[in-house]
Structure formats: structure tokens, C-alpha cells
Symmetry: C2
Subunit: 303 residues, 2 copies
């Protein structure tokens, strides 16, 4: 179980409109995007909640990807549904509707297998729930979390308590600034490191990502994509590739391992934006993944 990842987060149906089309009630949610990506590298167990309307086809689709759904509870009512639209620049999503439905009452329950997982990813949910999950765990060798502006405003104290106990924090640049009240990302990351996590990953969309670990500051570009169809879930897909690679590695506390994890995260998220929902990652072959990884690494090799 040392290399198995437990992810706790949202499972959703997403209705998304972009300049390249639309999707209606596509498979989404942070735990789903994360798992689809991480399961390319390591076994994944998912804890989440869906309603009675959650399609059996989605359930089978996830299982085929070697994602254990024993922790995916079904509650009376409907599945979390998000409806949004992206502008031409894909920078900001306009939320048309958010129906939390059964997700409003989500109380993650872990079974024995869950608590023995070596790697834990706490996707973006209420930091009090993230804390509850963490307390139920055995002795995971690596704990990472994500969060969002909403929790930074409303549950700052709970979030700071959580940060004191995680190894790795994923945030986007606005969240890093909001959490630290510091605009410069190097300074912000230093403040975040002081809150607990040994490593900080700042996600910057098509501007790439930054890693801060042991005094090292590393900026990496996004993999350029000619046709961005839907950026929903790109951040969770990034985290999935990153954490998946770390879970499969004997020791994550190594800058070269972390750089490869950044690269796999980048590559996985570049696939995810090429189609709606988890379609592109769903049909991704291992050779395609490794080919793009090699291309990305080669492009950054300056000889």
C-alpha cells in the first residue's frame, strides 16, 4: 500500500461551454481529474460522494482505469453539478450554476484499506474535512493538499492548521498571494513553507508552474497546446501526474524526482485541456504520454 494513492475530493457532473463547443453533464470533479491522471502511474483509491443519478457508465469508465471506487458513496439525491463558461482566453471561468446537491453533506469515511495508503491527496474541499481525513490516516509517507480562494477567505484558521501537517501544497498563483498577502511568488512560497509544507507547487495555467523545495526555486513552462478545448480540471490533472509519479518513486525528497514530477504534471495537464471532461486523458495511451514527456524534457535541454 506504500505506493497507493488515496484521493479525497469532489465527483461532479460538469456542463461546460467554450469557443470549441460544449459538454452536458460530463464526468468531472477534483477527485476524478486527479485520479484519471494519477492512475497512469500508481494505484488510486477514491473517496467521494455521488447522487443516485450518477451514470453507471462513468463508474465503469473509472474502474477500467484501475481506480478503486469502494469509497465512492452514493447518497439519495443528485450529484454535484457545475455549469460554466470560458471566454476565448480561457483564463477565467464564469459560473452559470453550482448545484452542490449531495456534495453539500459530504463526510468522507475511510475504510481500513484507505487508512493504510502510503500517499494521500486532499483535493480542494473544506479544510475541516481535509483535517478529519488526515486524522483517520495511518502513517502516510506523503501528504499533499490543494485548496481554493473560498476556503482561504472563509476558513483561514482551519487551512493553516492543515498546512502544518502536509508535506506538499498545490495552489495557483492568486491563491498563493491571497494566503500570504505577498505578491512576489518567491516570497509567497517562503511564507507558505514557513506554515509547514516542505514543498510548494504554484500552478500558473498557460504560464507554467513553479516548484519550491529546500531553497530551490524552479520555474517550468506549460507545454504549448494548439487547440485548448476545455481547461476544467487541468490543475487537478497536473496534481495527479505529479503525485502519481511521486507515489511510484521510492523517495520523493529529491530535487530530480520532483522535477520529473513537475514535468509529468505539466504533460498530463496539457493533454487534459485538449478535450472536454476527462475524454483526452481517458483515451491517453502510455506511449503517447511518454512521447510527450520526452519531447517536453528535450525542449528544455539547452546544450
Amino acid at each position: 500500500m506504500k505506493n497507493t494513492i488515496l484521493v479525497v475530493g469532489s465527483v461532479a457532473l460538469d456542463s461546460v461551454e467554450t469557443i470549441h463547443g460544449r459538454t452536458n453533464r460530463g464526468l468531472g470533479g477534483s477527485a476524478v481529474h486527479f485520479s484519471m491522471s494519477a492512475s497512469q502511474f500508481a494505484p488510486v483509491r477514491m473517496v467521494g460522494v455521488v447522487g443516485e443519478d450518477f451514470p453507471g457508465s462513468f463508474r465503469r469508465f473509472l474502474k477500467r482505469r484501475n481506480i478503486c471506487l469502494e469509497g465512492m458513496e452514493i447518497l439519495p439525491g443528485k450529484t454535484f453539478h457545475w455549469k460554466g463558461r470560458y471566454d476565448r482566453d480561457f483564463k477565467n471561468a464564469t459560473t452559470i450554476a453550482t448545484h452542490l446537491n449531495v456534495f453539500e453533506h459530504f463526510k468522507p469515511k475511510l475504510n481500513c484499506d484507505h487508512t493504510e495508503c502510503g500517499v494521500l491527496f486532499l483535493a480542494n474541499i473544506d479544510p475541516d474535512l481535509q483535517w478529519e481525513v488526515l486524522k483517520q490516516m495511518g502513517k502516510p509517507r506523503l501528504v499533499a493538499c490543494d485548496t481554493m480562494n473560498y476556503w482561504i477567505s472563509l476558513k483561514r484558521k482551519s487551512l493553516i492548521r492543515l498546512l502544518s501537517r502536509v508535506n506538499l501544497l498545490f495552489v495557483n498563483e492568486e491563491e498563493a498571494r491571497q494566503l500570504t498577502k505577498e505578491h512576489n511568488l518567491i516570497k509567497a512560497a517562503r511564507i507558505l513553507t514557513g506554515m509547514g509544507p516542505q514543498a510548494i507547487v504554484i500552478k500558473r495555467g498557460d504560464s507554467g508552474s513553479m516548484l519550491f523545495y529546500g531553497g530551490e526555486v524552479l520555474a517550468m513552462p506549460a507545454h504549448p497546446i494548439e487547440k485548448v478545448v476545455d481547461p476544467t480540471g487541468a490543475g487537478d490533472t497536473f496534481a495527479g501526474g505529479f503525485m502519481g509519479y511521486l507515489a511510484a518513486s521510492p523517495d520523493w525528497r529529491n530535487i530530480n524526482v520532483l522535477k520529473r514530477a513537475m514535468s509529468y504534471g505539466t504533460v498530463m495537464s496539457s493533454f487534459s485541456v485538449e478535450d472536454f471532461s476527462v475524454k483526452r486523458v481517458g483515451r491517453l495511451s502510455k506511449p503517447d504520454m511518454h512521447d510527450r514527456y520526452k519531447k517536453y524534457v528535450k525542449s528544455l535541454s539547452i546544450v
Copy 2:
């Protein structure tokens, strides 16, 4: 003269205010920022115009950096003066005042030595003037140009005529989109390549830069800087490092040479933002430059 760079552009006095302070009538202008950077790599000859108020100390400062000022004309009147302010995020400059002064009547005049230079950089001026300069040249082995939103709107035809005769175009991402009416940068670069230049460099500020050459698409991150003092001239400093490195190379038509040029451009621009005007680049030592270059290259090496 094969490795000597001729640059034609503005020489200015800049009064800039940022969150880290202000400078009054500091040395600036596209030709100056470019030359200060390029002269780290190759001999530079500058063609520009200043007024009678242009300080002798600035002239001596430039000459000490091995920048030939024979082509820097002095006209009756005052030097181009730009006054601006940056917000905390340094993304957009607010212009408080632009006094073109003698620059309004700038007609670049080349002497025999100028026309024999092997490398030409047409910094951001009226594309009709850029064209006039190009016509006066002998047979340069490499011609590059920059431009801006103002000329794209007002002198589109002149600019397109110019592009048909340059090897390399530097633009920022907004300019690339404005010029091509295409949002995606890979597609935009393909359209730009169709207009003439064999290589396109898209500058993206703290999001890094992109190079398009011979079907290759390369994204590179900015070098992260902890204290950005003044971003004025960072783009010209980038172009200076890039062109300087190419001028010193026997053959620029090689992807590895171009990648090193991108890296030197990135590194030079990272220095330029650390102080007002050309102060940081002015006191930059070759070992400091090469150290940061090596650090940057190493950070991107994924092993």
C-alpha cells in the same frame, strides 16, 4: 563587421515610479536597453537621436560599454522623455506623459560602417523608418525587428512589407494576437512565419517566452526574480541578449544556438528588472551573467 550589431531605435530619458521607488530622467529607450545587453556579447553600433539636454555622463557610460555612438545624432531641442508608473503586479505601465521631442523628427542616417554590419536590429520605431534603414544596409546576414500595438494599428501595411524582409521577429503576446487576429500563440506564430520571418520570438513577461523556428515550438520560463524593481526595457534587454548571442555565433540557423540565445535573453532580462533604468545591466559582470545562465540551464535540465 560580420559579428557587429547595428541597432536603430529610441534613446530616451525615463521617469518611472514603481512600488520600490522612482527614478527621474534615467537612461532609457529601446536602442539603449538593447545595446547595454547585446554589448555583453558582440560589438554594437547605435543609431538614434538625442536632444541637447542629453547628459554627457550617459554618453560616457554607453561608450565605456563598447557601444559605438557615432550614429547618435544630437538635434536642437530636448531628448525623448517618457514618464510612467507601474502597479504592484508590474503587468501594465500607465503612461503619465510622453514627450517625443527630437525623436518626433528622427530620420535614421547610416554611415558606411553601419551599412556593413552583419547583424541588424530594428527596434520599435515607425515601420517606414525601419524599412528605410533596411534599404540602406549592405548584405546583413541576420535582420530582426520589434514593433508595438501602435504601429500594428496605424501602419499595418508598412509593417507587413517590412516583415517580408526580416529573418526574426520579436513581439509580445498581445502584439502577436493583434497582428494575426489569432488568439492561440502557436497558430499566431504560424501566420507570422507566413509573413516572412524564419523565426518568431514571443515575449510573455514573467510567463517566459516562446520560440518558433522550422516547425519547432519551444516555451521557456522566465528566470524567477524575488524583487522586481522596474520592468521598463526588459523586452529590449531580452532581444539584446538574444541577438548578441546570435551575432557572436557563426551560424544562427540552428535550434540549439537559438535555444541558447533564448536563455541568454531570459537571463539578461531577469537582471534588467532588478533595478531602475539600465543600472543593473550596467554593473553586471560577465561571471555574474554566466553564473545565472548556468543556473537557469541547470534548472531546466530534467534528469
